[in-house]
Assembly symmetry: C2
Homo-oligomer: 237 residues x 2
DNA sequence: GAAATAGTGTCTTTGAGACAATATATG
DNA sequence: CATATATTGTCTCAAAGACACTATTTC
């Protein structure tokens, strides 16, 4: 933290100021779509371009509090039911044309969100399908952040139980499977997947109820189990 | 990035300044020790306590450049031969008693480093065994950062070829095994490990040479292969 | 009953681990 | 040769995947 060879290094106040922001990659799964929440900017720079939701960190605000606040403000979803984790920090000197801004990016995973809350300062806000989105048109370096978020989510569901965060409290194995299929862009064998999920201790717990989706045999429903990590993992094909 | 409900949010310069630093978890393996590079602070706050190497990010300096500079300055090792990756960002409002400081932490993995370069501003610097270190005595929130770094390293060697970064250009399978054993605190079956490493495409490539360690059959030597990820992974027991 | 989806059985292949056996050096 | 370490062989078990088959609903 402190040790260097120049005297000025000892005094934090002697250093030029940085602005610190949070940016959020908020993902939800609506098969066959993987959607990210984007806002259309009203102001320069990058006016009218789409961007990730984010904002400045308050002077006495913890980083995760800033992220949590933005998440709840933009989605209307309590962070209790969502997953929020730190992703990475982006701080290239030229990433914001106005001044030096370091952005701490966060990844949020949500189940079945309501329509986004339009801020008075954004032209529009929407859940945007990951496919069919030209990421290079995003404001700032948000294409990098989005890329990192998607990649993180794809990896996380392999070793953790986070796939259930994309679903309601009660869900079927087929719905859980569709989360994997949507994120990974593959199709999985229903039979093998069913067995694997039930074999992974604490991944899901049966509710004892069933639900009918119109056609076919009704599916038993499950709730997220107590486990945080999958053992063995659900490996990506 | 921009959208909120208050007007001041639009102007980055209107926001109170943060200081931004980098802190480094620099690890090396010297079986049976896993060592981290620490500095003993000369100045308040936390004078005489041990801390991770770090420093302020320059006004026009990219984050990774700041980390790279510190790494080379403190270890005398070129970043070419080391691995450096971003770890996480720590920004609790009270983590530095002087002012608001957000620290971007980095993880570095090194092979067989020289003695640390003592800065004129640190009382001492040393490679410290992870075991036998009372992490709670570290300055700032560096116990959290160190914890995150160790955990990251332990996970990385499971799915990536990074274990070879702890070794010289030429190494034996037994030396590679000792990296895993040291980081994971386990003993692995030499026979099974040998086969697994050779079965993992691109993990290591034979040099055609051998080396004798005094007793026993001489071991063939290998160099790091072209692969970055292990397929299949070397799973932690 | 036909169609559709949920869930089970079974077989094959692959990788992990235990451990015996062989290879090649030093003293 | 005794000993130590490296490397290969072999066997067993667990998990993954292909796919046939059964179960239970709607129309």
């Amino acid at each position: 933290m402190l040790v260097t060879t120049s005297d000025t290094d000892y005094d934090p106040a002697a250093f030029p100021p940085f602005a610190v922001t949070v940016d959020l990659v908020i993902l939800t799964v609506r098969p066959p779509r993987l959607d990210v929440l984007l806002l259309q900017r009203a102001e320069e720079p990058f006016a009218r371009q789409w961007a990730l939701p984010g904002g400045f960190v308050g002077p006495d605000q913890d980083l995760i509090e800033a992220a949590r606040g933005k998440l709840e403000q933009k989605t209307g979803v309590s962070v209790e039911t969502a997953h929020l984790e730190q992703l990475a920090t982006f701080g290239h000197p030229d990433r914001d044309p106005r001044m030096r801004v370091v952005s701490v990016a966060w990844l949020a995973l949500l189940a079945d969100p309501p329509d986004p809350v339009a801020g008075i300062d954004a032209l529009d806000s929407a859940w945007v399908d990951i496919d069919g989105l030209d990421r290079s048109t995003l404001a700032f370096d948000h294409h990098l952040i989005l890329e990192a978020g998607i990649e993180r989510a794809r990896n996380r569901i392999e070793y953790t139980t986070l796939a259930t965060r994309f679903l309601a409290d009660e869900f079927t194995i087929a719905e859980l499977r569709s989360v994997y299929e949507t994120l990974w862009g593959v199709t999985l064998d229903p039979a093998n997947f069913h067995r694997k999920v039930n074999a992974s201790q604490g991944f899901v717990t049966a509710t004892g109820r069933s639900v009918s989706h119109g056609k076919g045999r009704p599916a038993k429903t499950y709730a997220a189990g107590p486990a945080e990590y999958l053992e063995p993992p659900v490996r990506r094909p």
